[in-house]
């Protein structure tokens, strides 16, 4: 009995946190989404969302988020794998995490210089004989910078999963005659799938609503739902439409969580 009372007491901060910083904001966003630009109660925002502009934007957001997640995974998995094989694992891991301490905007501005017409990247291209190319304000630069920013969040969970892997499984597979590729495909990858899933969630979901980078790095050539929310709140001050887009983003995120979480037990 006493134990239970103690548990309740300690869980108060947690519940307060959830109520004030999780439930209340979502309820507020839902509430605001039900008002049109003049402050009248209406569902017109939801109707507006299903117009070509916003559907196209949703498709765009998903497409770029997918590309960002894919490339992050492509580079993160081998990196994480190599990290587990190194001698000073924690040190290498720290080196990968350090750039994420630097402010996002600062990094974006740095890339403005690096990718510019007279920047380091183009100097290099000229030196190796390819010649100057437009890098800034292209899909390539947008995805490159996004991947650079998100990749630590993909490496960490995969690294943890790989690190926890019992080496005797690999030995067993080896002893039973499995090739390296088969061992990876049938043993290592399935056992680290949870790490991959949480890595994908942590990258895909924020990538869906990126906004600062769309202006700085891609010069507003890539328009995502995040950009639209920013504009509705700050420029038009149409909180209703901004909230409606946010509501759809929340729904998408729940769907993604549900889809990637459901088969957890089945592996």
């Amino acid at each position: 009995m006493e134990n239970k009372a103690k548990f309740n007491l300690y869980s108060i901060p947690y519940f307060l946190w959830v109520v004030f910083f999780v439930v209340a904001p979502i309820v507020l966003v839902l509430y605001y989404s039900l008002f049109d630009i003049d402050g009248n109660f209406s569902l017109v925002n939801y109707k507006n969302f299903f117009t070509p502009v916003y559907l196209m934007m949703t498709l765009n957001s998903f497409w770029y988020a997918l590309l960002i997640t894919f490339f992050s995974l492509l580079f993160a998995y081998p990196t994480a794998y190599l990290l587990t094989k190194t001698k000073h694992k924690q040190l290498w891991l720290l080196l990968i995490i350090v750039p994420s301490w630097i402010n996002l905007l600062l990094k974006a501005y740095a890339f403005l210089g690096i990718f510019g017409t007279y920047g380091a990247a183009n100097k290099f291209l000229e030196a190796i004989g390819i010649g100057s190319k437009q890098i800034l304000f292209t899909d390539f630069s947008f995805i490159f910078v996004s991947v650079y920013i998100f990749i630590p969040f993909m490496i960490l969970p995969i690294f943890n999963a790989l690190n926890k892997l019992n080496p005797s499984f690999m030995d067993a597979a080896n002893d039973l005659g499995a090739s390296t590729w088969t061992t990876f495909r049938r043993v290592i990858f399935p056992l680290t799938l949870d790490g991959v899933k949480s890595g994908c969630q942590v990258v895909f979901i924020p990538a869906l609503s990126l906004f600062m980078l769309t202006r700085l790095i891609s010069g507003n050539r890539v328009i995502t739902l995040g950009t639209a929310i920013e504009q509705h709140f700050l420029v038009i001050q149409d909180w209703g439409m901004g909230s409606t887009i946010a509501v759809f983003l929340i729904i998408f995120m729940f769907l993604i969580m549900a889809l990637t979480g459901a088969r957890k037990r089945g592996v």
Binding site: V53, G116, L216, N220, Q231, V235, I236
Partner: protein
Amino acid sequence: MKQLVRVFLTIILVSIVLLFITNRLNQSQGLSGGNTLTVYNWGDYIDTDLIDQFEKETGIKVIYETFDSNEAMMTKIEQGGTTYDVAVPSEYMIDKMIKEDLLIQLDHSKLTNLENIDERFLDLPFDPDNVYSIPYFWGTVGIVYNPEMLNGMEITSWNDLWDPKLKNEILLIDGAREVIGMGLNSLHYSLNDTNPLHLQEAKAKLDLLTPNIKAIVGDENKLLLANKEAAIGITWSGDASEIMSENEDLDYVVPSEGSNLWFDNMVIPKTAKNIDGAHAFINFMLDAKVSAQNTEYVSYSTPNKAALEFLPEEVVKDERFYPSPELTDKLEVYENLGKRNLATYNELFLEFKMHRK
């Protein structure tokens, strides 16, 4: 646990001591209480020597604070934490602040130097009869370009930008009214047009410009243009003069079809405590010589007709920043179109941004 408590106690103690010290310092400088005036202005937008001069002449201590966007300024004034006595918002913000009852009516009898202001810049639609605001600086929206990068090609109008030779050379500013306005102007419609057909027409025309557009950017355009990242930028005259001081190859032109005319204006917000001091400050800034000195420092265009006499001829005669009357007649001030029309502008701008090459 004990250690943790000790750490917290130390932090709190240090904070209290620091608070006490700042308080004493402020008192000894006469900042809190007494005759002070808090001025809230854009960053680097006044010659600070003039503040010293004002303090000497009137004995009023000036506390000078700065902001970097109209929105941020309005939020701070709405909150009312600091007693700002004078602020300098742009014209569209003034309309909004009047509607939200954030401004105090000016007493024109205390503003004896008001006659120095050019009549063209008084009694404008955002504040008829200047009940709440006095113009501080003004400017236009136009085209900054690098003739060298364009092989001497000359740009004089909005329509010049649609030239296929300018492929991938234009940096637009990320503002719905500026960009849609450019479309409207190129079709010889008003910048305050709300006719949906005209707006659609402007958007369709802008879509044709997409191959020439390199990017749609914010304040970083100053950096990008000075670094020759693109040959052409659409921006405000104030930013243009700043870019041109960094890279002298660049030139600025107010397009011949017409463009936007903007104003930053001095107002007294509702938060003001020292209303007499605020009037004294505004009147001081309207003085011909003071205004001329300030203009030389800030290098924007002054609305002060009397000050022009004290300015070097090459500044006053520079038609890029003091356009001829024929051109000024074609310039328009943004009217507050209301939330709904503004939403239409932004919706079209968003669609335009999504139009791929």
